[in-house]
Amino acid sequence: MSSDQTVSDYLARLRSAAVVLPRPRQSELVAEVGEHIEAALEESGARDEVSVRNVLERLGSPDEIVAAERYPDDPTDPRAQVPPSAAGARRSAGRSMETKVVFGLVLSALVVVLAIVALSQGPSAALFALGFALLTPYVAIPLVIGLAVLFWSQDRERESAAPIAGALESAAAGARTRGRRSSLGLVGLLAVVALLTIALVAGHSDQIPTLAVFTLPVVVALLVTDILRGRGRKDG
């Protein structure tokens, strides 16, 4: 049946265009569109080639649909016009490059420090030093600022609103909350608790008050970052 073949071809093209989307969304989108095609054909009462082509015509091209998924605020964005695989690779490569460099540098520095301490004073001291190094203000505050900038710039880019509808968008965006990202403040708090526990277990309980004093500003900074991220989004 050539019309079934047309449908399968279309869905195959949609599936391959959708590889730039998050995995769970890929199959979900193809399923949704597939069901739409079925429902539309049933509604029209015919499954011949002409009916199928009409349904697919109204659906739009796979690239259009995937572009709407990736660039919800502007599917006509020039980046969306490029074959999705190239654009997706370029875009996520750019994003992950910055992230990789930042984390790579931080991680290497930590590994070096850890190795030196472990070699000279033994593993539990190294673990303790890791926590301490991570959470002293001199290391933590620049790190926090860097992460905050990174997260914030990602948030803003994802939320850019079309100018003409901008007045409507930004007013309504205030009601929109995306509480799905992890709270940096919470992560920081957990890290501090872990550090204090290590200190206790490793026999450094006399250091605990000092540690608490050092780490408090960091947790506060992280919580402030959370609030700013939330407010940044609210103001559109």
Binding site: L29, V33, E35, R58, E64, D74, A165, R180
Partner: protein, 122 residues
């Protein structure tokens, strides 16, 4: 987003306006009673001039789900596989209410200017 010289390539400014209001039209459709995706698409196309490619509604629905402006329930259907029924949430209602207030003002203002008596060519 750069408008400038790319405006001609994009066509009518209504294109962007459609995109901005479409999600609120969807929310309005699922405000009263739960509706499934295909029905939502049909209502939008019947209303006229709101949707160019029907397929782009599905990413929009996914986004509304992610933002928790709608909840979904799977229900059996007599004619085929189970369907996902969409219904608005409290958050969705709030967003919609804000939009409606803004839209009415916006619509009236634009209307006043472009459709004002004496503004039409004789």
């Amino acid at each position: 987003m750069v408008q400038g010289d790319t405006r001609n390539q994009r066509g009518s400014p209504l294109t962007e306006l459609r995109r901005g209001v479409l999600e609120y039209c969807v929310l309005a459709l699922v405000r009263g009673q739960e509706t499934y995706a295909f029905e939502i698409v049909r209502h939008l196309t019947d209303a006229g001039g709101l949707v160019t490619s029907e397929g782009t509604i599905y990413p929009l629905l996914a986004r509304l789900r992610r933002d928790e402006f709608v909840t979904t329930t799977w229900r059996e259907s007599e004619s085929g596989p189970p369907r996902r029924y969409y219904r608005i949430t409290a958050a969705g209602n709030r967003a919609l209410a804000t939009f409606i207030a803004d839209w009415n003002g916006f619509r009236d203002a634009v209307d006043e200017l472009v459709n004002k008596d004496g503004g039409t060519t004789t």
